[in-house]
Symmetry: C2
Subunit: 215 residues, 2 copies
């Protein structure tokens, strides 16, 4: 084997290196200001190779979005899968989410803080990402496994709870940037405190009523 | 008075008409595809007049953002101001929010579903909008008036609850587009059910603990 062949990196590995570099640059500069040149340099490849493998700046961005969505969805599944009972499963899912955001701040910026309006293809991919996350969280919220007590809840109640949870967790990633010292475990605990009891009530069809103190 | 003078519309009124037209066009076409020509036509004025009054497409967009933020903040204040007790105040604020989004769907699209990355000035204005809303909600969450029972809660607990609430309500506006028949009152009731009890626990410093069912 020659030196040249020994240094050849297989395409899938190279692509992951390019995506790693791209996430860093997109997160730092934003989509418009990011240059394929800087991404290529950071990945240690030529600019033509980036275009050959990932087609365009838009193609690069889509590849970043897809890979990071897969990672987040995998993290949610891996965490919640082996856990029995909706309460512990939700806790495991939230913890996985906040741990992901803490450990992949750049990915999170690329995934969610970039403009959905950049291009129709990116908007479509972002919508797909959002649906994938909603589907995972929806699975956490519904009483899905045999070990769970309680009847399965109506779909629209579960959807309501899911949208509220996804939005709360998403917004809390902004709170996290203001409180970088806060560990994911404590954020999870607080959010569980805030939503768990009420979620069960909504899913069970119980209704809060306005107290008779209104003037 | 001549016919010409009688038809003259004062500048502040004209500006509001232009902003009304702009919100419709931005919501329908998105920022990039929106044309000042279409906005001028819809407002019944000339294109040069739009530029004279609001400077540029970016200036138009900023004017839309500012006016709609003021309207939303005013709606939150007007609803919650005269209500005593944190529970009823929160309910009034949430109801005002969901009513605003139901009645001003176009404004909402302009306010929050457009890209923060459009320009640095727009990004700054969107950040200011978000802070204004967070400040209002934070006021709802804290025990702020003399009639309220209970001690004032620590700032960071209140901030946590505020970010979670703002995110949940924001995300539920997506749920609303899937359920256009759902009245704001019912959405408010469901969200109160989901968060009220838990919020009080978090604000009072009570802590949820993992049940002893973990494998």
């Amino acid at each position: 084997m020659t030196d040249t062949r020994r240094r050849r990196v297989p395409r899938p590995v190279r692509e992951q290196q390019i995506i790693d570099a791209a996430i860093g640059v997109f997160a730092k500069r934003g989509y418009h200001a990011a240059s394929v040149e800087e991404i290529a340099e950071l990945a240690g490849v030529s600019k033509p190779m980036v275009y050959l493998y990932l087609d365009s700046k838009e193609g690069l961005f889509l590849a970043c979005l897809r890979r990071e969505t897969e990672r987040l969805v995998s993290a949610l599944r891996a965490a919640a899968g082996p856990v029995h009972g909706p309460e512990l499963r939700l806790r495991a899912g939230l913890l996985a989410f906040f741990t992901f955001v803490t450990g992949h701040r750049d990915s999170w910026v690329v995934l969610h803080r970039q403009a959905a309006e950049l291009s129709p293809a990116i908007a479509a991919e972002l919508a797909r990402t959002r649906r994938a996350v909603v589907t995972e969280v929806s699975g956490l919220v519904r009483a899905g496994d045999a070990a769970d007590a309680g009847p399965a809840c109506p779909d629209d109640e579960a959807d309501f709870v899911t949208y509220a949870l996804v939005g709360a967790a998403d917004s809390l990633t902004d709170w996290m940037t203001l409180h970088p010292e806060e560990p994911p475990e404590r954020i999870t605990l607080r959010l569980m405190n805030m939503v768990w009891v009420g979620m069960r009530n909504v899913l069970d069809g119980e209704v809060w009523t306005t107290p008779g103190r209104e003037p």
